[in-house]
């Protein structure tokens, strides 16, 4: 009997309903100390583990429960509390990778047994390790200068954190600038968005702790929580600080461009100031459209124009990052039946906001685009692009459009009395106190028709909307002078691009996925990176600001720690190093140096991807907590007990993105065959051909390699990871392994559904090609 303890969690049925815990208990009792509990993560459960460690003087612990991403730290603490090194713990993920993804009880129990077995085998090679502390950079980066980013930056700066605020546009303000009026839950009156926003923008500009970088984009982020290095590319503004905002330049500029700040309802010049309250309060040249005719230079009395200015690059170091990259509007021309872009008087709510905005194209007068006449009948169409599963549609509710329509209906009822407004809706969504608003707008005489508009037609200059009044089962064609489309919200292109650069997980809808939907709503899948506003999902200003405060508080508490305890997961040198220096070239983090004819590795710089390990010709390098012996033990363990005719496929997933995606597959209860066995590796660069070969020699039917993202891979960029994986694939082919049995997915996994699909395809592919092979069965170590 070993002095290993195996603790089996029932998770209140989450595990035990599918996995026969009693059978496992009986099985492992023959070799280990075994205890079971309803909730090992509870204080009582933890106490059980601690008592058992003390009572049996355990030398190592296997906890078979949920993903290490949930309670790994809790269980490690159980070990350290009793004086046992916390790295002598192995977690068998029998919930996310077994009970939640396998329906059949027999297969689930068998798989759980194998997962625990693999953990026991790995535990035999565990080494005691100690964590160390690193300093945290006392600065933060906020990406995106809309209302969420502005709020987050101010909160951080107010708390003494040096904060960089990066905005792509030449002014901060974002969509809040464009929407003109805002609604609030307690007042039935629309407030001026700028009145709330403008003072905040000025605070940003003047705050000593904020460095504002407009016309700028984050191009790369490397490092980990507490110590990120960020590259920011700044487009030339081409107008320097001497600008007095007199506007002479714009008067003479011959180039007209559609004005984004006015939702393209009017034009601006190539040299322009986005809006009167813009911050910075300066003109800017839109270099994509400027023809460099020089007229503005001649007109400028302050000599502020620098036509030849070049883009610049700024590098900053920060401890935490807040993403506030916002949303875009659904393009209604993708639903041509609604007439947008074909019929002049079909506009979006945002365009309506510009039309009724005092600084908009009609100076606040409600006039329709075709002829400048005052519309007396307005129809608003809800759910344009939202709750829509047709190609390019958004499957979700954009959550604010009902309130936006009510806001505009209310405003127009107040300021253009006599205007007849009808709102065609699928479901009116005014949660909580917003219901007051709905009631208020009903009182004003706005008509609500329960039906989604089918088509907008124009006959003899008049608009007609086909809709069924579903509550009366009556199909009608309603005439209108102006049709307003309530378009949905989708993640901005910037959000998606940046998420891919940072390697943070996205939801199925491509919004930034929060770490925990209830408990950690402003954290992302990567420690030290937080999210707020519409980058995380559709929401209104109230909730964007709340989440911005939450995100900045998270960032503050991380930075406020001053130092972070770092897991000792770096590469290390064994004694056989001859100082050849090949590994140095393989480390993009510059963590390896040759000192006294032997390599030394700086654990602070090493990101623990493991690329150097098989680069070493003498096998002198290894990786803490993912040693050769541990990795080999995992492979052996996962394939042990394979019976004739059984299929087993090993999936190596990187421990950050790939593994987290697999956890999400479990949390979503997406099923996959129990033949798929997941082994976590710090990065796929840790894998050498010998590991793949070993898996096949031990009877694996297929090997799947899923790489989440390059940031964790020894600082390698995407292309070099790809070329290394190509080499791996080629070497494996040279070993005589059927290439169809090895699948490498080099691509970024945007969300877990994609990984699930690939795992299913892979397993199916292996099964279809798999002819029962006696040779394989003979070779397996059963």
């Amino acid at each position: 009997m070993s002095r290993f303890g195996v603790f089996l969690c029932r998770c209140d049925g989450n595990i035990s309903n599918t996995v026969n815990i009693d059978r496992l208990e009986k099985h492992f009792s023959q070799t280990c100390v075994v205890e079971t509990d309803q909730h090992l993560c509870s204080l009582q459960g933890q106490q059980k583990i601690k008592n058992s460690i003390r009572k049996h003087d355990l030398q190592g612990v296997v906890v078979a429960a949920c993903s290490p991403n949930n309670h790994g730290k809790t269980f490690r603490k159980c070990l350290s509390d009793t004086g046992l090194n916390p790295y002598l713990l192995e977690l068998a993920n029998v919930r996310e990778q077994c009970s939640w993804v396998t329906k059949d009880q027999k297969s689930a129990t068998r798989k759980a047994r194998d997962l625990v077995n693999a953990s026991i085998q790995r535990l035999q090679h565990a080494e005691p390790l100690s964590e160390f502390l690193v300093g945290v950079t006392n600065a933060a980066l906020v990406i995106g200068g809309g209302i969420a980013g502005i709020t987050a930056a101010l909160s951080l700066a107010e708390n003494g954190i040096k904060t960089y605020l990066v905005e792509r546009q030449p002014s901060i303000g974002g969509n809040t600038v464009r929407i003109g009026k805002v609604f609030s839950p307690h007042k039935m009156v629309e407030e001026c968005a700028m009145c709330s926003l403008s003072p905040l923008m000025n605070d940003v500009y003047e705050h000593p702790n904020i460095t504002l970088l407009t016309n700028a984009e984050v191009t790369s982020v490397i490092g980990t929580a507490g110590r990120f290095s960020v590259d920011i590319k700044i487009k030339p503004r081409s107008v320097n600080e001497r600008c007095t905002s007199c506007g002479e330049c714009a008067t003479v500029c011959p180039i007209e461009v559609a004005d984004w700040w006015n939702a393209n309802t009017r034009n601006r010049k190539a040299i322009y100031k986005p809006f009167p309250q813009a911050v910075p309060d300066r003109y800017v040249i839109d270099i994509e459209n400027c023809v460099k005719c020089g007229k503005c230079s001649k007109a400028c009395k302050s000599k502020a124009i620098e036509l030849e200015a070049e883009p610049s690059l700024q590098k900053v170091k920060v401890g935490a990052i807040v993403l506030a990259t916002g949303h875009e509007e659904f393009d209604p021309s993708l639903r041509p039946e609604l007439g947008y872009a074909r019929l002049d008087n079909v506009i979006t709510q945002l365009e309506l906001a510009r039309i009724i905005g005092v600084n908009g194209p009609t100076n606040g007068e409600l006039l329709r685009p075709s002829d400048g006449a005052k519309p007396s009948k307005i129809i608003m169409i809800q759910c344009v692009g939202s709750r829509d599963e047709k190609p390019n549609g958004l499957h979700y509710c954009s959550s604010v459009c009902c309130m936006v329509a009510l806001k505009h209906a209310n405003y127009i009822s107040d300021y253009s009395p006599g205007t007849q407004i009808s709102v065609l809706y699928t479901d009116i969504r005014t949660p909580g106190i917003y219901e007051n608003y709905y009631r208020h707008v009903q009182d004003k005489g706005v008509r609500f028709i329960r039906g989604r508009a089918s088509e907008v037609k124009q006959k003899a200059g008049k608009l007609y909307v086909s809709v069924e009044d579903t509550l009366r089962s009556k199909c009608v064609e309603l005439d209108a002078d102006l049709v307003v489309l309530s378009t949905g919200m989708l993640p901005s292109k910037g959000t998606v691009e940046l998420a891919q650069k940072l390697g943070i997980e996205l939801s199925e809808e491509l919004f930034v996925k929060e770490k925990h939907p209830k408990l950690e709503g402003a954290s992302t899948s990567i420690k030290g990176i937080y999210v707020c506003g519409t980058a995380q999902g559709p929401k209104d200003i109230t909730y964007s600001v709340l989440q911005a405060d939450a995100a900045s508080l998270e960032a503050l508490s991380l930075i406020g720690q001053g130092s972070l305890s770092i897991e000792p997961l770096s590469a290390f040198v064994k004694d056989s190093c001859n100082g050849c220096g090949i590994c140095v070239r393989h480390c993009r983090n510059n963590a390896i140096k040759i000192v006294d004819r032997a390599a030394t590795i700086d654990p602070m710089l090493c990101t623990g991807g493991g690329a150097c390990i098989h680069a070493c010709p003498t096998g002198a390098l290894d990786l803490h907590n993912s040693t050769e012996a541990q990795l080999e033990a995992s492979i052996r363990g996962m394939l042990a007990g394979k019976v004739n005719g059984e299929i087993r496929n090993i999936a190596f997933l990187d421990s950050k993105i790939g593994y987290a995606a697999a956890d999400n597959i479990g949390a979503s209860k997406l099923q996959y065959p129990s033949s798929v066995r997941i082994i976590s590796v710090p990065s796929v660069l840790r894998l050498a051909p010998r590991h793949i070969d070993l898996a096949f020699k031990l009877g694996a039917d297929g090997v799947f390699i899923g790489q989440g993202f390059e940031a964790e891979s020894c600082g390698e960029n995407f292309e070099s990871v790809e070329s290394k994986l190509n080499n791996l694939s080629a070497s494996v082919a040279q070993l005589g392994i059927d290439p169809a049995r090895l699948k490498i997915y080099r691509v970024y996994i945007p969300h877990f559904v994609g990984l699930h699909k690939r795992l299913m395809q892979f397993d199916k592919g292996i099964r279809q090609n798999d002819e029962p092979s006696d040779e394989l069965a003979l070779r397996s170590e059963t």
Binding site: D331, S333, L334, R335, P336, E337, R342, K390, P391, N392, E455, K457, Q458, K459, Y464
Partner: protein, 308 residues
């Protein structure tokens, strides 16, 4: 995917075409297929005009008269004839055939359906093995429209044209429409403008022509009311010609105009896009395009064609 990419992603000229003949066209407007052959011949496009192909039975299917298994197996036979001949790009002149055959190709990718179908096909010495793609003739014309325009002997510069895209082309496999999104297709419009036509837009662009299958063969109001709605909208801006891509639509729009000529107060001849293009390429109006089958006189169009 951007709008442009979505539209252009399917616009590629298929080669080695299997000409799939339509029973409605063959009965009422023989000029549609004669014209299409004339166009393909003029451009030396390689195609197979297989007499052995049966009807797709789509008309009967939509009326609920033909059992699905008969439909699927007969079309599996048709698709097999195409694949065995090496002419694997099936081109339909009828949108109902187009949709029906596409649906059969989809269903036959299911192994159990395929096995059941092959069980029957075995009796006639055939086996369905897939490998066939289905197109509509208008798609072919759309893709080669520039080469067609180069060979045109006359132009449409004097003509105002209104188009109607068949519902079974645009609304069944809506995500596979080329030339615009399914809710506002401009496949036919783009072909016409290549020949310098002026287009007339109208409000009931996406409305059914009124053909309506069982409705057309009953005494209810569907066909008459719908066709009138459609025609009143099309004729509002007085186009010289209505261009379609479906014999069924042509039947409804042509014959209902005749019936309600007085009420409408204005008529415009209805042509299939193949007929129109064939005439522009110099086809014989009677023998090839068979314009005499139209009930609304087509003479006005012929007079307005501008010689190049």
């Amino acid at each position: 995917m951007t709008l442009e990419a979505l539209i252009s992603s399917r616009a590629k000229l298929p080669e080695r075409l299997y000409l799939f003949k339509s029973c409605v066209a063959g009965t009422f407007y023989p000029g549609i297929e004669r014209s299409f052959r004339f166009i393909l011949n003029s451009l030396n496009v390689d195609y197979f005009d297989d007499p052995s192909q049966s009807s797709c039975t789509g008309f009967g299917v939509h009326c609920g008269m033909v059992p699905p298994q008969t439909n699927l197996t007969l079309n599996a036979r048709n698709l097999t004839l195409a694949s065995e001949s090496g002419y694997t790009n099936v081109v339909c002149t009828c949108p109902t055939s187009y949709a029906n055959l596409k649906e059969c190709v989809n269903e036959l990718s299911d192994t159990s359906s395929r096995a059941a179908v092959n069980d029957v096909l075995k009796q006639v010495g055939l086996e369905y093995n897939g490998g066939v793609t289905v197109y509509h003739a208008a798609e072919v014309l759309y893709v080669i429209k520039d080469s067609l325009a180069e060979r045109a002997k006359s132009s449409l510069s004097q003509l105002k044209i209104a188009t109607h895209h068949g519902c079974h082309y645009t609304k069944v496999f809506y995500d596979q429409v080329i030339g615009g999104l399914w809710e506002y297709p401009h496949l036919l419009d783009d072909i016409c403008t290549t020949f310098s036509a002026t287009l007339v837009d109208y409000s009931e662009r996406s409305l059914c022509c009124g053909m309506g299958f069982t409705n057309l063969m009953s005494t209810n109001d569907y066909s008459a009311v719908t066709s009138l709605r459609k025609l009143e909208s099309i004729l509002a801006d007085k186009p010289d010609v209505i261009v379609t891509m479906c014999a069924g639509c042509q039947l409804a729009l042509d014959r209902f105009q005749k019936k309600y000529e007085r009420r409408l107060g204005y008529t415009a001849p209805v042509l299939n896009v193949s007929q129109l293009v064939a005439i522009l390429l110099g086809a014989d109006k009677t023998k090839d395009a068979c314009l005499q089958f139209g009930t609304i006189n087509t003479g006005s169009i012929v007079n307005k064609l501008e010689a190049l």
